[in-house]
Point group: C2
């Protein structure tokens, strides 16, 4: 497709629909085509017809595998030889480690020292047997992970793949919405959780390419509504690391590439509280028999807790992941009881 043929809707953005189709072809047979589930109780509670895209059943337990694999699969031979470096609050770490191993390259993962133990262990497990691979820890309340990542990348000649602000990552994440809509048909609304905006921007492009006029809604934690603020301000607003149980959405700012996509293709951004996330995690466990991590419950919470109306509508929801320490999960389920 020539640039001149591009619908103006996507002109000038970091990714276009064809990038998502190419990503889908690249990860065919490697990433899971995750199931879409429905729930009568969720429909009754929201008044709509809800379709849950279960990325908690994705490889390594979250959508992040899509973006990481799509990025690493496009490395040139020299890049593959030196390997990849990533900084991540968790799922992008595991995703990069797994994608690197599948593609036979070293990975260095820069992770917060207070990452959930399960995520640290899983990352190291994915690196096992892969030459030159290691986890580097830092304090996320004091140190700048981007600076650490860039320094290590330079020292070791490794290619840095950021968790969201990268066109290959964004395109990879968009395949989740593409699969969802290709399976269930047109939707009135699509709700997507929101940290740095990689998943939201990719899904927004995929959704608008399939359903012109679809209402794409981003959902971020109440404690970290930087993108709501950014949209209001018309520029990227940077906040302190938010204190929320949604550890996958503890980002400080949207990306330079993701924000313009969100500005153009996302109708609104709403927030939900940690209490609403716990209530939604309990709904998933009790009614849908699924383990969903706090961040993974963001989009569903907006519907099930009545933040976004759904009456009479067909609504897609990305359930982004299921990686949560079992002891933490157990205490969240127990804390919300009553």
């Amino acid at each position: 497709m020539n640039a001149s043929d591009l619908p103006p809707l996507f002109a000038g953005l970091a990714i276009e629909p064809a990038d998502i189709d190419a990503a889908a072809a690249r990860m065919a047979g490697v990433a899971h085509r995750t199931p879409v589930r429905t729930s009568r109780q969720a429909d009754e509670r929201s008044g709509g017809r809800l379709f849950f895209k279960c990325e908690n059943f994705q490889r390594m337990g979250a959508f992040k595998f899509r973006g990481a694999y799509n990025a690493l699969a496009q490395f040139n031979p020299a890049q593959r030889e030196r390997g990849v470096i990533a900084f991540s609050s968790g799922n992008h770490a595991q995703a990069t480690a797994l994608a690197a191993r599948l593609l036979g390259m070293p990975s260095v993962i820069v992770m917060p020292s207070d990452s959930p133990a399960a995520k640290l262990a899983a990352t190291r497990e994915y690196q096992q047997g892969q030459r030159g691979s290691e986890v580097v820890l830092y304090d996320r309340y004091k140190e700048d992970r981007e600076a650490i990542g860039r320094r290590l990348a330079e020292e070791r000649g490794m290619t840095l793949v950021p968790p969201y602000d990268h066109s290959h990552v964004m395109a990879g994440q968009g395949t989740a919405a593409a699969e969802l809509i290709d399976e269930v048909g047109a939707l009135d609304k699509l709700l997507v959780c929101l940290g740095g905006g990689g998943l939201l921007s990719g899904c927004a492009v995929a959704a608008h390419a399939r359903v012109p006029g679809i209402e794409v809604i981003g959902v971020e934690p109440e404690a970290g509504n930087d993108i709501q603020q950014s949209l209001a301000a018309g520029r990227i607003v940077r906040i302190d690391t938010p204190r929320t149980i949604a550890d996958g959405a503890q980002t400080q700012a949207a990306g330079a590439l993701t924000f313009p996509v969100i500005q153009r293709l996302v109708r609104q951004v709403v927030t939900v509280s940690d209490a609403q996330l716990v209530s939604t995690m309990r709904f998933f466990a009790e009614r849908m028999k699924m383990v969903v991590e706090p961040t993974g419950a963001l989009a569903a919470a907006a519907l099930l807790e009545g933040v976004v109306p759904a009456r009479g509508q067909r609504v897609g929801i990305i359930v982004s992941g299921g990686n949560v320490d079992l002891s933490r999960y157990a205490s969240l389920l127990a804390a919300g009881a009553g």
Copy 2:
């Protein structure tokens, strides 16, 4: 099919393969065709290729809906008018209540007074708005549920549908194994949890009809190994109500109809401990992001805990249900941490 055409393998048993095919046709579009999931970690741990049939994603959260619906759908008009009565430690209760509501008939459910609160609440929820429906409680360590059920059935003219020892129930449950094998192809082994033997006997018939010589294995709780004892004795052995976390397998004896099927078509019955069930529930939560009730973990536990070898084999596993009180579930997950 005439009786003379029946393979001798099934002759004289309460159900034959055609009964399962008829049950499948009856419940098409009503019961969920549940997903079959796989797990690299489960494969690595067992050495085999495992296929998990996820009946925890079935309507009302367990396979029991299949059997109840298949039985109630065959009521005659007079039976439908008077309604159904069922006694159950939990899932058969919900299954009967839901099937009755879908078919527009009253249901009386006799439940142990110590049933998980979620199961009591769900049963009453399924009965809502359905004339003549109620829950009757009894003490399962002191009273005989069958006697209570039969007395109420007589008094009210309702039809009693037992939880397992009924050919329509057995045939309905067998559709789970039929769907599994029809989806993934031939298996070397099929592991099925075992209380009264309704699921096991139905699945054994479905499996042998599809894969001659398949090794069907029943798994019961260590504390309640009445069927192991019965097979050794060559007759149905009755035990005291076993104290195990697998509340769906707290049966005292096999059924008069299920036992002959088990004797003929089940290669062996093994047991697992409550600690092994907890470990397996944790595996399901952590690695497969699924909520599985203790009884639902029986079959998988036998493989993941090394009770039954699987090396180099294709093995089917029925994950029978996911109905567990969240507070109890949380404490089981936390208790098993280590």
